[in-house]
Amino acid sequence: MTKSKEETPSEEAEGPDGGVWAWVMVGALFVSSGFVFGLMRSLGVFFVEFVQYFEESAQAISWITSIAVAAQQFFSPMGAALCNAYDARIVVMTGGCLAGLGFILASQATCLAHLYLTMGVITGLGWGLVFTPMVVSVMGYFTRRSALALGLGFSSIGLSSFIFNPLFQLLVEKYAWRGALLIMGGLSLNIVPCGALIRRQKQSKAPAKVDSDGRSCSARLQRIYRYLELSVFVERPFLTFCAAITLFNAGYFVPYVHLVALSRHVGFSEYQAAFIMSVTGATDILGRVVSGWSAARGCMRMVHILILWTSLTGVFIILLPLSSMSGSYPVLLTVSLLYGFCGGALTSVVFPVVPQIVGVERMMGASGLVQLIESIGGLLGAPLSGFLKDVTGNYLASFVVAGSFLLLGCLILTTLPRFFQCRDPPPSSETFLG
């Protein structure tokens, strides 16, 4: 915060862009993202244990993860709205407690339904209260360098799966799945100190505009409307952005789901396929950081950067089955590396575009809503790709369709107003609208 003191008045109008506490917040985002998405990706360790103990089918067990992911995305707007109404710090700390509580209760489960409720709903709800508020809180400390901050903050997502997978394997071997879940619950509580680091920056939306004699139904609805930031839904730029991001989500995860199967399908061994995934994960981390750093240089507009990385990701997704058909392992490996890099790169710049579309003040609510809507893409994309594979017999159609979703999303983004301008509109005028 001492930095903003030294800035000239014109830079001050731009907003804060760093400072000691800002980087502390990036560290908090690093830790909390790791505990949300890293854990989400490591739930597979329990799969075999649950199938054997509860004597249920694989599909029934895999619903646990699906419910948790869906809950995280579904409750994101609620988390954002609560931050608008109250304090982001309380919301994130509560979310951390809920996430931990979900796992702790799950350790006592005696039937599958218990796991759906605890590991699925409660933990997912906790994650929903954590992720969007943390991301938006961090973005509040940065203007031009928000992409770098997010890139660094999200780099833990890839790293934590490297760490958590073997760690949880060890915990399950030592303490069985009940003990492992208990300890995971404890680890999830580490999100709470991350939330404690959030400091109040701006006025909350509570007093500002409307009547505070809000006992009446309409006043309450009005407040909910404001907290959830539903006003963004009537604006075409936001709807355009949502449509594009939903398409991105429909295609983005397909390689994560099918790449190993594609490699095996073409004839590579289990180890070769697993190696491809590991290396893709490594370049994903690198892509996040490099993209964030280069976006912060400010040479290109954030929207243009997003389109650049996303279209490259789409192209490489389409190239994946084609390169596998060549039969050459180095070729497939190279394309996977490039896919990983570009896929990670685009994640750093998605959120920074939101305040440019809806304005800094509405960024919290809008981000929550984006999370909710993009989940539709994720929910539809994976089954569609599976269906295409079943119908055609190979993965070519699935990957080509996935890549084209990304390219189509890029085309949609070009319809944003003032897209072809070379400079970002000045932040004080905030939106793409006026």
Partner: protein, 235 residues
């Protein structure tokens, strides 16, 4: 079993051949003629039971030996790490004889008792043991675990000629074991939160006294520019 040997440089017209089982000669020595550049030695053995299994070898003169191992199908990969469960909870242990090995006629489960094996009778104690066997797979469910249930268990795939065994270890722990690291983590979290909140309270106090000082200075300065340092410190 049949052995075929192409011989060495001296293609002797006849050579002695005999069978051995586990290192001991069985039957009498035979004279094996050279036919079509090969020596053929055939042995027919009746498999009556477990005693018929072992290492068979056919020997040609003092030059060539071929070994056969006659045994029941071996159990596939059985989990070598101990299976952990909690006192009062139940545990499911499984053995598998995977394709294309022949399926056993039945499965038996044993609990190790010192060096002995005690057969587990699920019918006698249905509330404690449950055995579910289906072709090449068998699972044993042990309920209401106590420390006494810990130890080695053997699953036996029963064939006509013998039984193939697999060994599994079960460990029973109480909830106190994972509770210890859990409490350590919770304490760490509470300490971190306390440190963070205390630090913030301290720095707020500093900024309040600091802003009070600058307010005093402002009042002391007649006129002068408005210092924006107060506003900025709040950020």
């Amino acid at each position: 079993m049949e052995c075929t040997w192409t011989g060495n440089q001296n293609k002797l017209p006849n050579i002695t051949g005999y069978w051995k089982k586990d290192g001991n000669e069985i039957d009498s020595r035979l004279t094996v003629p050279l036919e079509n550049e090969q020596y053929n030695l055939k042995g027919v053995f009746d498999i009556v039971g477990e005693e018929s299994l072992g290492n068979y070898s056919c020997v040609f003169g003092s030059e060539a030996k071929i070994e056969f191992v006659l045994a029941a199908p071996q159990m596939g990969e059985v989990r070598d790490k101990p299976i952990v469960s909690y006192a009062g909870d139940s545990v499911v242990i499984a053995c598998k004889m995977e394709e294309p090995k022949p399926k056993p006629s039945t499965w038996h489960w044993y609990k190790a008792n010192g060096t002995d094996k005690a057969l587990i009778d699920a019918a006698a104690e249905p509330h404690r043991y449950q055995i579910h066997s289906e072709g090449g797979k068998s699972t044993l469910t042990v309920r209401n675990l106590t420390q006494a249930d810990a130890g080695f268990y053997y699953c036996g795939a029963v064939y006509l000629i013998s039984t193939s065994l697999g060994r599994l270890e079960v460990r029973v722990i109480t909830f106190l074991e994972p509770l210890k690291p859990f409490i350590a983590i919770v304490v760490e979290v509470l300490v971190l939160v306390a440190v963070i909140l205390l630090y913030e309270r301290k720095s707020k106090k500093k900024s309040i006294t600091g802003s009070q000082k600058t307010k005093k200075e402002k009042r002391e300065n007649s006129g002068g520019e408005e210092s924006s340092s107060v506003r900025q410190r709040k950020v």
